[in-house]
C-alpha cells in the first residue's frame, strides 16, 4: 500500500513539474550567410548587430553558418546547397548573384533575406517589390544614383563631362542607367569607359585629360573595390569624385546611397519577422535609406570647396 502511494505521489509531482517547465523553453535558430565579396562584411556585421537587437545572440540562440566571402560566383550555388543540407532556418544573401544562387533554397521552403540587391525587379529576382509572393524578401539599394549626380552638380555646377568607368555587370548597368537619366536632366555628359581589369582601369585613369570634369564610381563590386585608384586619379587630375554608393570613407568626395551597416540592420528586421513566423511573401521588399557623405579631405586635395548648404545636408563628413 505504501508503495502504491509513493508511486502516485511521485507521478503527480513529475507531472506538475513538467507542466511548469513547459513554458520556460526557448528556440534556437540557424542562419546561413552567403556573401560574394569582402566589401559586404560591413553589411553582414550590420545584419548580425541588428539581429542582436532583436534578441538573437550568436552562440546562445542563433548560429550563423558563414564561410566568408566566396569571391567566386561559381561557389555560390554549392554554398547554398550546403546550407540547405544543414537545414538552416533562414539564408541571408549579400549581392544579386548570391541571391539568385539562393533560389534553390527558397524553393526548398527555406526563407531567404537579401541585402543588398541593387534592383531585384530588374535583376529578375522578383516581379514586384510588394506582392512578390516568393519565399524571400530583402532590401534593394538602388535609386540613389540620380540624386548622387545632383549633389555632385550642386557642389560643382560647372561639370559637363563625367568619366564613368564601367565593368558592364548588372549592378553597373542598372546604376549607369539611372545615372544617364539624371545626367540628361542636368545636362551632363557621361564618358563611359569600359574596364574589365585593374590594368584597364589604371589605363583609363592615366588617360584623364582636362576635358573631364569629374569621375563617377558605379555600384559594382569590382569597381568599388578599386576606389583607391579612383581617388588617386581624382586628386591627380583635380577633378571631383562621386558615387551612388556610400564610399566617402574610402575617399569619394561626394557619395549618396546606402550605408552597408545600416542596410544590414534593415535586413535583420526582415529576418526577425520571418524567424518569428511571418511568411516572407507577406513582407514587401524594402528600399534602403540613403545617406549623403562628403569627404572634405578629398575635396581639399582636389581644390574644391563644398558649400555649407551641402554640408548641412550631409549625413557623414570626413574632415
Amino acid at each position: 500500500m505504501k508503495k502504491y502511494l509513493t508511486i502516485l505521489i511521485l507521478s503527480l509531482a513529475a507531472l506538475f513539474n513538467y507542466g511548469c517547465n513547459q513554458s520556460n523553453q526557448g528556440q534556437n535558430y540557424t542562419v546561413g550567410i552567403v556573401s560574394l565579396t569582402p566589401k559586404h562584411d560591413q553589411i553582414i556585421k550590420g545584419f548580425k548587430a541588428g539581429m542582436e537587437t532583436f534578441g538573437y545572440n550568436e552562440g546562445e540562440n542563433i548560429a550563423y553558418i558563414y564561410e566568408g566571402p566566396l569571391k567566386d560566383k561559381a561557389r555560390l550555388k554549392p554554398a547554398v546547397k550546403t546550407l540547405i543540407k544543414s537545414k538552416v532556418d533562414l539564408i541571408y544573401t549579400a549581392t544579386t548573384p548570391a541571391t539568385k544562387a539562393a533560389q534553390a533554397a527558397y524553393l526548398e521552403n527555406i526563407p531567404v533575406v537579401f541585402a543588398p540587391v541593387f534592383d531585384p525587379v530588374q535583376a529578375g529576382i522578383v516581379s514586384s517589390l510588394s506582392n512578390h509572393g516568393k519565399n524571400l524578401t530583402g532590401v534593394q539599394v538602388g535609386g540613389s544614383t540620380g540624386k548622387a549626380l545632383e549633389y555632385l552638380y550642386a557642389i560643382a555646377p560647372n561639370i559637363i563631362n563625367v568619366l564613368v568607368p564601367s565593368d558592364n555587370i548588372t549592378p553597373s548597368r542598372q546604376s549607369l542607367s539611372n545615372l544617364r537619366k539624371a545626367a540628361d536632366k542636368l545636362g551632363i555628359k557621361l564618358i563611359v569607359a569600359p574596364v574589365k581589369s585593374v590594368k584597364e582601369l589604371q589605363e583609363v585613369f592615366a588617360g584623364i585629360d582636362s576635358t573631364l570634369d569629374a569621375i563617377w564610381l558605379l555600384n559594382s563590386p569590382f569597381l568599388v573595390s578599386n576606389v583607391r585608384l579612383y581617388k588617386e586619379a581624382a586628386i591627380r587630375s583635380n577633378i571631383p569624385l562621386a558615387s551612388g554608393a556610400s564610399q566617402h570613407k574610402a575617399g569619394v568626395m561626394v557619395s549618396y546611397g546606402q550605408k552597408h551597416f545600416k542596410t544590414g540592420e534593415q535586413a535583420s528586421r526582415l529576418a526577425h519577422k520571418i524567424l518569428q513566423g511571418m511568411p516572407p511573401a507577406n513582407l514587401p521588399i524594402e528600399t534602403c535609406d540613403f545617406f549623403l557623405g562628403i569627404n572634405l579631405q578629398t575635396a581639399q586635395a582636389i581644390g574644391i570647396t563644398v558649400s555649407e548648404n551641402i554640408l548641412k545636408q550631409a549625413d557623414y563628413i570626413i574632415r
Partner: protein, 1123 residues
C-alpha cells in the same frame, strides 16, 4: 454477522467528502480570482502599450509639423530664387528622425496659385521642367484658404507599398500675415510602420493602426495592409475576436492628425494574455489532485487501520459469546484499538483463570480450614448441634461433629453456656449481624481464645453459627508482662521527670525510690554514695532507703555508713560497679564474704546498679528482696540502670548548676570590675545589663538604668545620635568604634559595639563598651601640641624629625623631613632605612642600631634628597621606652651638616696646609738652630781657652737639644707632641757622641714609658736632661771610671693631677756634700732649676747617695692660645 452501518463505509465517505469538497471549492475560487485578475492586467497592459505607441507617433508627427511650420514662417521664402529655394528645400528634405530615418520623400513649395516653385525628391532629380501645378489639390487648397495645416490621408506607394502622407502648411508672411504660398511634404510613414510593428505586445500580440473607417494602414504583417484589411475599432478594452479571427484581449487608443482620426489597436491572444491564469490553474489543479490523491491514499490506509481491527475484534467476541473461550482477538498495536484487543484477550484469559480458580478455591478452602491453628466449627443456631469442625478442632476437642456445642466444647456444662453469644449473631429481623468478637478462657483446657462468631447461611440455607476461635493464651501472658513493664516505665518516667524538674534531686529521691519499690514489688530500695577518707580510701554510705510495709529498714545501721567495700569483703562489688556493671542474683550464690552481711539483713536476692556522675562513680542504687528468692528480669535491671542514669544526670546537673552559679558570680565580679562602661543593649537600644563603672560614671543605680534607652541615659536624647555605633551594629551586624566628646557627662569616650548573634546569626543584642579616654585625649592634645612645638622648633633649626615605631617604621615626619624625603603619606609605615635609601641598613641605620642595642645611636651618611640633592646628614636616634623598658618608639633627629662638612673640609684642608707650614717652620727652626750650633762650633775653634771652648760647646749642646725637639716635631705626624722616648735616645746618643764617651765604660740606660710631650714641655725637659746628662758625662766619671748613667721618665700623680717624674742619675763621684747646688755658679744647673721651677712649675730633688740623682716632678705644660 455483518454490520448494517459499517464503520468502514462511514469513515470512507466522510474522508472523501471532507477532503474533496474544500479542495474543489478552494481551487475553483482561486482559479476564478486569478482569471479575473489576469484579464484585467492584460487589458491594462494593452492599453499601456497602445498609449506608448501612440505617444511615439504623435511625437514624431508633431515634431515634423513644428519644424515645417518654422520653415514656413521664413519671411522671404517665396521671394528667393529657384536655386535658393531648391537649396532650402534640399536641406529640409534631408532632415532625418533621431534614429536616422529619412522622413520625407519629397518636399515642394507652391506659390499662391498652386504652382510648384521648387520640388526636391529623395531619389529623383527634379528640374524646373518637372514642376507642375497643384492648384486643385486638397494639399494646396486647405492651407491656402484656411491657413490650417493639411494632413492628407495615408497613401501607399504603388511600387514599394510604403505608406506616406501629405502634410502641407501655408507659407505666411509674418509681416502682413498673408498666405503667400504652400509648403507640401510627402512624409514617409514607414518609420511609423516599423515602429508599430516593433511595439512588443507580449509574445504573439500585435499593434496596428487603422484609420477612421477601420482600414488597417499599418500592421506588423504588411500583407494585412496590402490586402486592404478592415477592422471593427474596439471602443473599450476587452476580449473579442481579433483581426486574425482568434479570441484576443484588445485595447484601442485614438490619435488625431489634423482632421483625421487614426486608431492604434493592440491585440494579444487570450491564450497568451491569460497564460499565467492557465499556468496557475494547472498548478492549482495539479496540487489539488496531488493533495487529494495523498489524502485519499492516506485516508484509505487510516480507515483500514482503524476498521480492520474492530472487525476482527467483533468476530472474536462473537466466537467467545458462543462459548469458545480459546478464541483470541488477532489485534495488536499501541492505539486504542490495539489496547482494546489486548484488553479483550486479557479479559478472556482472566475469565478462564477465574473459572479454574473457583474450582481450586473449593479445594483450597478445605485445605485451609484444616490447616488453621484455630478452632473452626459450625453449629446450628437453633439446635446447637455441631455441623462442621476443622482438623484443629478435632485435634483439640476430639471428633465432636454432631454433638451439642456445650457438650463438646466445654466441661461440666449441662446446658447452654451463660456466655453464649448466639443471641448476638442475628439482627432484630433475624438476619445475620456483624461479626461478634470476644475473648474467653475455655473451661476445658484453660486456654484463652479470641473468638469470632457470625451467623451464616449453610449450604441448606439454614442459619448457622460459624465460630473461629484463635488460641491467644501466649498473647494474654505477654499482655500481662507488658502491663507490668508499662508500670515500670511509668515509674521510670516519673523518676526521670522528678529528677529533671526538681532543682535539687535530693528533694524528690525519696518519692522516686518509693515509687520504684512499689512498682517492682521489692522489699527495699536504697541509695549509697561514695566518698573518700583522706582522699585515698573509698567508702560508701547509705543515704536513702524505702522499705515495703513489714520490712525492716537498714538505713540507721551504723555499719552501713562509711562502709569500706574492699575491707568488708565486697571487692567484687567494687570491681563490677566501678566499671559500670550491675551486680545481681541470689544471695546464696554470692561469695561468702558478702553473704554474711547480706544474710544478716535477711536479703535473699539483691540487685545493685552503679550511679555515675560526670563519668565518675558516684555511688549505687539497689533492690533487696527478702521475702523470696527472685529472678531479676532484664526489665527490673534496666529500671535500676535507668534510674541510676537519671540520678547521675540529676547529680551532674546540680553540680553543673552550682558551677554555673559560681561562674556567673565570677563573671558578674569581672563585669563590674571592668573600669570601662560596659553595657548590653537590646535591639531597641534598651539597656539590658550594665556594669558598675557604667552606673558609677552616670551616677545612677543599675536598676535605674536597666530598661532605659542608651541614648537617653548617655546622651540625654530621645533618639539615637546620627553616628550612633549601636545603631550601626544593630542594622549591619558589624562591630563599630567611634570616639566622641559627650557633653552630657563631660567626657571623651571611645565607644565600641559588638553584635551578639543568635543561632540564626541575627543580632539579638549588642555589647557596648565605653572607655573614658578623656585623659588620653588630653594627653593626645598635649602630644599634638608638643608635636607642633617640636615641628616648629625642628623647622626653625632646620632639622628633620622622624618618629619610628618599634619596627623602625615611620609614624611621623616633620615638615623638614618631608621636604627632604618626600610627603609623609609616602613614607608612612615604611622602614626608615628605605626612606633614607640606606643600602646596608644593618650597618648604617641608626634606628636598627637603637633597636639592637637599646641605646641611642648616631650616624653620619650622605643621603640623596627628594629633589636629587645630596646632603650630609647627621642622625641621632634615641629609643623611647615604656615602663617595662621595652622600646615602643624611636626618635630620629636628622641634622643637615652638609655645610658644616664643607666647612670641616675647608678647615681640614687649611689645617693640613698649616701643618705642612708648621712642619716647615720646625724644620727651619731646627736648621737655624743647627746653623747657630755650627756657628758656635766654628767660633769655638777660634778660641784657645778651654773654659770658653766648653762654654761654646755647652751652648751648642743646648741649642742642639732644642733643635732636636724641632727636628722630632718636623718628623712627627703630631705637630704638637713628640715621642719623648725617641727624643731622649737621640739626645743621649748625641751627647755620648759629642763627649766621645766609650760605651764600654759608661753605660747609659733609659727607662721611659711611651710618653708624648708637647713642645712647651719637651724643650725644657730636653734642656734639663741635656744639662744633667752633660754634667754627669763630664764630671761624674773621671780618670777612666766606669759607670752607669740613667734617665727615667714615668707618669706620676702630682697632687691629684696627671704629671711626670723625671730621674736623671749616675753612680759616679757624686756632688760634694758641701756644695749648695742652688747657689752654684753653674749656668747649666741654674738653667735646670729655672726650667723646673719656673717653666715646668715642678720640683727638683737632689739625692747624693750612690752618685747623683736628680728627681724632678712636674705637670705637662698646657698650650694656651696666644692669639
Amino acid at each position: 454477522m455483518k454490520a448494517k452501518n459499517s464503520i468502514r463505509k462511514r469513515l470512507t465517505l466522510s474522508l472523501v467528502i471532507l477532503s474533496v469538497t474544500p479542495m474543489l471549492l478552494l481551487g475553483t475560487i482561486l482559479t476564478y480570482k486569478n482569471y479575473v485578475v489576469q484579464q484585467k492586467q492584460a487589458e491594462a497592459i494593452q492599453r499601456e502599450s497602445s498609449k506608448r505607441a501612440l505617444g511615439k507617433i504623435e511625437a514624431i508627427i508633431g515634431e515634423l509639423t513644428s519644424e515645417l511650420l518654422l520653415i514656413t514662417m521664413t519671411n522671404t521664402l517665396m521671394d528667393l530664387t529657384y536655386m535658393q529655394q531648391h537649396t532650402i528645400l534640399s536641406i529640409i528634405r534631408s532632415h532625418k528622425t533621431k534614429t536616422g530615418k529619412e522622413i520625407m520623400n519629397e518636399i515642394a513649395l507652391l506659390d499662391i496659385t498652386g504652382q510648384e516653385k521648387a520640388r526636391i525628391s529623395r531619389s529623383a532629380v527634379i528640374t524646373p521642367d518637372d514642376l507642375t501645378s497643384k492648384a486643385d489639390s486638397a494639399e494646396f487648397l486647405t492651407p491656402s484658404t484656411s491657413g490650417q495645416v493639411y494632413f492628407g490621408p495615408v497613401e501607399f506607394n504603388m511600387e514599394t507599398s510604403e505608406p506616406y502622407m501629405i502634410i502641407s502648411l501655408p507659407v505666411t508672411n509674418i509681416g502682413n500675415n498673408k498666405t503667400e504660398g504652400v509648403l507640401t511634404a510627402n512624409v514617409r510613414l514607414k518609420f511609423m510602420w516599423d515602429m508599430i510593428a516593433e511595439v512588443p505586445i507580449g509574445k504573439s500580440g500585435v499593434a496596428y493602426l487603422a484609420d477612421s473607417l477601420g482600414r488597417v494602414i499599418v500592421h506588423p504583417n504588411p500583407s494585412v495592409v496590402l490586402r486592404g484589411s478592415y477592422v471593427t475599432v474596439p471602443v473599450t478594452p476587452g476580449v473579442r475576436t481579433g483581426l486574425s479571427g482568434n479570441k484576443v484581449v484588445s485595447a484601442c487608443e485614438q490619435m488625431h492628425i489634423g482632421s483625421q482620426t487614426l486608431h492604434i489597436i493592440t491585440e494579444i491572444p487570450v491564450s497568451e494574455a491569460l497564460e499565467q491564469t492557465y499556468i496557475f490553474t494547472a498548478t492549482i489543479a495539479s496540487f489539488l489532485l496531488l493533495t487529494l490523491g495523498g489524502i485519499l491514499a492516506f485516508g484509505f490506509v487510516i480507515v483500514r487501520k482503524i476498521v480492520q481491527p474492530i472487525e476482527l475484534l467483533s468476530k472474536t467476541a462473537g466466537a467467545i459469546s458462543s462459548g469458545d473461550l480459546t478464541q483470541k482477538a488477532p489485534v495488536s498495536g499501541s492505539d486504542e484499538v490495539g489496547i482494546l484487543g489486548e484488553s479483550f484477550n486479557t479479559m478472556t484469559s482472566k475469565l478462564i483463570e477465574t473459572i479454574e480458580s473457583v474450582q481450586e478455591s473449593h479445594e483450597r478452602l478445605v485445605l485451609v480450614l484444616d490447616s488453621l491453628d484455630s478452632v473452626v466449627y459450625v453449629s446450628d443456631l437453633k439446635t446447637n448441634r455441631i455441623l462442621f469442625i476443622n482438623k484443629y478442632t478435632r485435634d483439640v476437642f476430639g471428633d465432636i461433629e454432631g454433638q451439642i456445642c456445650w457438650e463438646g466444647l466445654q466441661s461440666a456444662q449441662s446446658g447452654p453456656c451463660e456466655f453464649c453469644s448466639n443471641d448476638k449473631l442475628l439482627t432484630s429481623e433475624g438476619t445475620p449481624a456483624a461479626i461478634y468478637e470476644w475473648e474467653f478462657q475455655n473451661t476445658m483446657n484453660n486456654k484463652w481464645y479470641f473468638i469470632q462468631d457470625r451467623a451464616i447461611h449453610w449450604v441448606d440455607g439454614s442459619l448457622v453459627r460459624l465460630e473461629i476461635a484463635t488460641d491467644i493464651t501466649d498473647r494474654k501472658q505477654r499482655e500481662t508482662d507488658l502491663l507490668h513493664r508499662d508500670n515500670i516505665l511509668k515509674t521510670i518516667h516519673f523518676a526521670t521527670e522528678q529528677l529533671l524538674r526538681t532543682p535539687q534531686w535530693s528533694d524528690s529521691i525519696q518519692n522516686i525510690i518509693g515509687s520504684l519499690g512499689k512498682t517492682t514489688d521489692v522489699s527495699r530500695v536504697y541509695i549509697f554514695r561514695n566518698h573518700t577518707r583522706d582522699y585515698e580510701t573509698l567508702l560508701c554510705s547509705q543515704m536513702y532507703e524505702w522499705t515495703a510495709p513489714g520490712e525492716s529498714p537498714q538505713i540507721d545501721l551504723p555499719e552501713l555508713q562509711d562502709f569500706d567495700l574492699k575491707v568488708n569483703g565486697f571487692s567484687r562489688w567494687m570491681e563490677y560497679l566501678s566499671k559500670g556493671e550491675p551486680v545481681y542474683g541470689h544471695v546464696r550464690n554470692s561469695p561468702e564474704s558478702e553473704r554474711t552481711l547480706l544474710n544478716a539483713q535477711s536479703i535473699l536476692s539483691i540487685a545493685i546498679v552503679p550511679i555515675f556522675s560526670e563519668n565518675q562513680w558516684w555511688g549505687f542504687i539497689g533492690f533487696d528482696e527478702c521475702r523470696r528468692e527472685r529472678e531479676w528480669n532484664s526489665l527490673e535491671i534496666e529500671t535500676l540502670k535507668t534510674t541510676a542514669d537519671a540520678l547521675g544526670v540529676a547529680i551532674h546537673r546540680n553540680q553543673a548548676e552550682a558551677k554555673i552559679r559560681l561562674a556567673y558570680e565570677q563573671w558578674q565580679k569581672t563585669f563590674d570590675s571592668i573600669p570601662h562602661m560596659v553595657s548590653i543593649h537590646s535591639r531597641d537600644f534598651k539597656l539590658m545589663r550594665v556594669n558598675r563603672a557604667f552606673s558609677d560614671i552616670l551616677g545612677k543605680s543599675k536598676d535605674d538604668l536597666i530598661g532605659k534607652s542608651c541614648h537617653e541615659v548617655l546622651h540625654g536624647k530621645g533618639e539615637p545620635l546620627p553616628n550612633c555605633p549601636l545603631h550601626h551594629t544593630i542594622t549591619t551586624g558589624e562591630s563599630a568604634v567611634i570616639e566622641f566628646y559627650e557633653p552630657h557627662i563631660n567626657k571623651w569616650l571611645q565607644v565600641s559595639t559588638s553584635p551578639v548573634l543568635d543561632e540564626l546569626k541575627r543580632v539579638s543584642a549588642v555589647v557596648h563598651i565605653g572607655e573614658d579616654i578623656t585623659e588620653r585625649k588630653l594627653a593626645e592634645e598635649e602630644l599634638l601640641k608638643e608635636k607642633q612645638r617640636l615641628e616648629e622648633v625642628t623647622s626653625y633649626i632646620n632639622c628633620g624629625l622622624f618618629l619610628l615605631d618599634s619596627e623602625t617604621k615611620v609614624t611621623y615626619a616633620n615638615s623638614v623631613a618631608q621636604e627632604w624625603f618626600g610627603p609623609f603619606d609616602r613614607m608612612k609605615g615604611e622602614y626608615c632605612w628605605k626612606v633614607f635609601k640606606i643600602e646596608n641598613p644593618e650597618e648604617e641605620c641608626s634606628g636598627l642600631k637603637v633597636l639592637k642595642t637599646g641605646k641611642p645611636s648616631q650616624s653620619e651618611s650622605i643621603i640623596t634628597m627628594e629633589n636629587g640633592e645630596q646632603k650630609v646628614l647627621f642622625e641621632i636616634a634615641s629609643p623611647v621606652k615604656d615602663k617595662e623598658g621595652k622600646i615602643y618608639q624611636i626618635t630620629a633627629l636628622i641634622i643637615d651638616i652638609t655645610e658644616r662638612k664643607k666647612a670641616e673640609e675647608k678647615i681640614s684642608v687649611s689645617l693640613h696646609e698649616k701643618e705642612i707650614l708648621l712642619k716647615e717652620i720646625h724644620h727651619r727652626v731646627k736648621n737655624n738652630m743647627q746653623v747657630i750650633s755650627s756657628l758656635l762650633n766654628l767660633q769655638s775653634e777660634y778660641v784657645d781657652d778651654k773654659k770658653y771652648i766648653d762654654m761654646f760647646h755647652d751652648s751648642r749642646n743646648r741649642i742642639r737639644s732644642m733643635a732636636l725637639v724641632h727636628e722630632k716635631l718636623y718628623q712627627s705626624n703630631d705637630l704638637n707632641n713628640i715621642n719623648f722616648n725617641d727624643y731622649i735616645r737621640s739626645l743621649i746618643n748625641g751627647l755620648i757622641s759629642f763627649y766621645g764617651i766609650n760605651p764600654n765604660n759608661i753605660l747609659t740606660k733609659i727607662d721611659m714609658a711611651e710618653i708624648n710631650l708637647s713642645i712647651d714641655t719637651a724643650i725644657p725637659c730636653g734642656l734639663i736632661i741635656n744639662e744633667l746628662l752633660s754634667n754627669a758625662l763630664k764630671y761624674a766619671f773621671t780618670d777612666g771610671m766606669r759607670g752607669v748613667v740613667e734617665v727615667i721618665l714615668n707618669k706620676a700623680d702630682i697632687n691629684g693631677e696627671a704629671g711626670y717624674e723625671l730621674v736623671v742619675s749616675d753612680n759616679g763621684k757624686g756632688i760634694p756634700e758641701d756644695m749648695d747646688i742652688r747657689k752654684t755658679r753653674s749656668l747649666g744647673l741654674q738653667l735646670v732649676f729655672n726650667l723646673v721651677e719656673h717653666q715646668l712649675q715642678g720640683k727638683i730633688e737632689l739625692i747624693r747617695k750612690n752618685g747623683t740623682t736628680y728627681k724632678i716632678r712636674f705637670r705637662e705644660l698646657r698650650y694656651s692660645s696666644r692669639i
